[in-house]
Amino acid sequence: MSRFSLYEEEFHPAPWRQTWHSFKEDHVSMIGFILFLTMVSLALLAPLLAPTSPSVQNTDALILPPSWDTAGSINFILGTDALGRDVLSRLMYASRVTFSSALTVVLISLLVGVTVGTLAGMLRGIRSSVLNHLLDALMAIPTLLIAIIIVGIFGVGLLNTIWAITLALIPQFIHVTRNYVSEQMDNDYIRASKLDGATPFQIFYYSLLPNLSEMLVVQGTLAMSIAIIDISALGFLNLGAQSPTPELGAMLAEGLDIAYITPWNIILPGLFIFLFVLAINIVGDGLRAALRARTSR
């Protein structure tokens, strides 16, 4: 890159920019990123792109195979399900539901997790020790169990599973944040700002958070893939989104009844979940590698 340099100063891109540069150099990560953008835009633009509404039933076109099959029809590109609903439109609306609930889950648990994790990391002594050990133990309780309990108390529904998965993901964010914060608290730059009279909140906001943010993005992508798999798993077990709501896991469960006649009804929703999670995992891996490349430079 040629740039005019009067004072022979080197070009120092901002940290985020450096990460983006090394992320961009990796082709696999970029393909994952493009796949991710495609999936997200499919989900976001569902009302514009979807051929029909996800709940319209075409009684004259039940269990139609996808259009490339000889028995298929071009009107229903990915075929129809047992109630004659267009699978493509349902898939797009379903990924909208699944993706947005996963995003909500991750954002809430990130917010709560970082707050509690910072407190736990800054605390010293017995309070911190009790909190940490209890959290470590609670982290081990499986999501499915928490979800079953919450569904037992409040009944089935997408919203309840969102709460359940949020509860299950919070400890992970707390764990990561707390480890990082308690590690950083011994560093000189924190001590310097303490000597400057910074309050704990100022230390957090000006000194810790900028360092923390990238790690949180990486952890967030990991949590996002877990959240998508969990939401669809609960939908699949009939604990999450209920029948008329299109949701990827619930669609899979609906397709299960006639899976032997219409395998595409379980293959396609599963493929969508898989592509979402794969894209997020590849992007997460690429980000992690880029961050490692930058910090070890």
Binding site: H133, L134, D136, A137, M139, A140, I141, P142, T143, L144, L145, I148, I149, V151, G152, I153, N179, S225, I229, S232, A233, F236, L237, N238, L239, G249, L252, L256, A259, Y260, P263, I266, G270, I273, F274, V277, L278, N281, I282, D285, R288
Partner: protein, 343 residues
């Protein structure tokens, strides 16, 4: 050493009492009468209700209530299931071993596939072999377990007819319930063709354990790969190389043990994922384990069974995690240093 063990024991006791407390609270949070949720008995008979209230000490002060609940739990009187009327302790003794069995097979598969693949990928880092192992693991890791389970059923059970669809063993074999672990029960059973039963049982468990094990194998391979790469860059490996040691010696004496050590705590976190996946796969393959039990309980709104199931599963998972943590603390000479490895 003793201090560490006592500390972990204390942690275990505290966590366990939190869980018991929580399960007691659940009886009040679930819909319906708390007494029914505790005992599992639905009755209008005033005498019976009074007896039950006395037994579970429901109207006494909270501390006595809690202690009484603990002592009932210790005596093995866990109440009965509202729907089936079975003793819950007996139900748990039946379903928990089945889940543990599935988890053990899956963990075995995960370790047998994941660790060698991770080592190979780590040694051949940034070559074609590494990239293909990495790609395979990320693809496997991204596949939802219920979907791969379904794919297994469609391909291997329906199309190829290679493996049976459901259960742990063919119903034609009459295996009396002794330990709950079907492989052990086969050897304890009398008057059956042990070899045929054993083969039948192996046949039944291939698909479920593969479905669960492969996901964990992928995660494990990624962890091991990263750790091996990190260790290979350490100065002591260069020192060993410059001394002219053959690579085999370097790998088995210096790399392997040092790289598996930091993987252990992270692999312990995977226990939770493994058990969750096992519980989901149980539903698909009608494996008579605790996942199936809990889901039946929630579909039928059997709250006393849910309360006990939640307590038992979380106790199981947490004791496994704490034990793995303790084990790691004991074999790791740099104790106190928490996980310093990443994916």
């Amino acid at each position: 050493m003793m201090a560490v063990i006592i500390r972990y024991l204390l942690l275990f006791v505290i966590t366990l009492s939190v869980l018991i407390c929580f399960s007691l609270a659940l009886a009040h949070m679930f819909p319906g009468d708390p007494l029914t949720n505790l005992s599992g008995v639905t009755t209008e008979n005033a005498k019976v209700i009074e007896h039950l209230a006395n037994k579970w000490a429901i109207d006494t002060n909270p501390i006595h209530y809690f202690m009484n609940y603990c002592s009932l739990l210790l005596q093995g009187d866990w109440g009965i299931s509202t729907i089936s009327g079975n003793q819950l302790a007996a139900d748990m003794a039946r379903v928990i071993p089945a889940t543990i069995e599935l988890s053990i097979y899956s963990a075995f598969i995960a370790i047998c596939i994941g660790v060698p693949l991770g080592c190979i990928a780590g040694i051949k880092a940034y070559t074609k072999i590494d990239y293909s192992i990495n790609a395979a693991s990320i693809i496997q890791y991204s596949t939802p377990v219920f979907w791969s389970g379904l794919a297994f059923i469609l391909i291997f059970c329906f199309q190829l007819k290679l493996f049976p669809l459901s259960g742990r063993i063919s119903v034609l074999f009459n295996i009396p319930h002794q330990t709950g672990f079907v492989l052990i029960d086969i050897f304890l059973a009398e008057n059956i063709d042990r070899k045929a039963a054993f083969m039948n049982c192996l046949h039944h468990m291939v698909l479920p354990s593969l479905a669960v094990g492969l996901v964990s194998a992928a995660a494990l391979a990624r962890l091991v790969r990263r750790s091996v790469i990190d260790v290979l860059n350490k100065p002591y490996i260069s020192a060993a190389r410059s001394r002219g040691l053959p690579f085999k010696t370097i790998f088995f004496n210096h790399v392997l043990r040092n790289s598996l050590l930091p993987v252990l705590p992270l692999a312990a976190i995977q226990i939770t994922t493994l058990i969750t996946n096992a519980m989901i796969i149980e539903v698909l393959f009608s494996w008579p384990g605790v996942g199936n039990f809990l889901l039946q309980a929630i579909y039928q709104q059997d709250y006393s069974a849910l309360r006990i199931g939640m307590l038992v599963v979380s106790t199981l998972v947490i004791s496994l995690t704490i034990f793995a943590d303790l084990l790691n603390r004991i074999i790791d000479p740099k104790k106190g240093s928490v996980s310093d490895v990443s994916i």
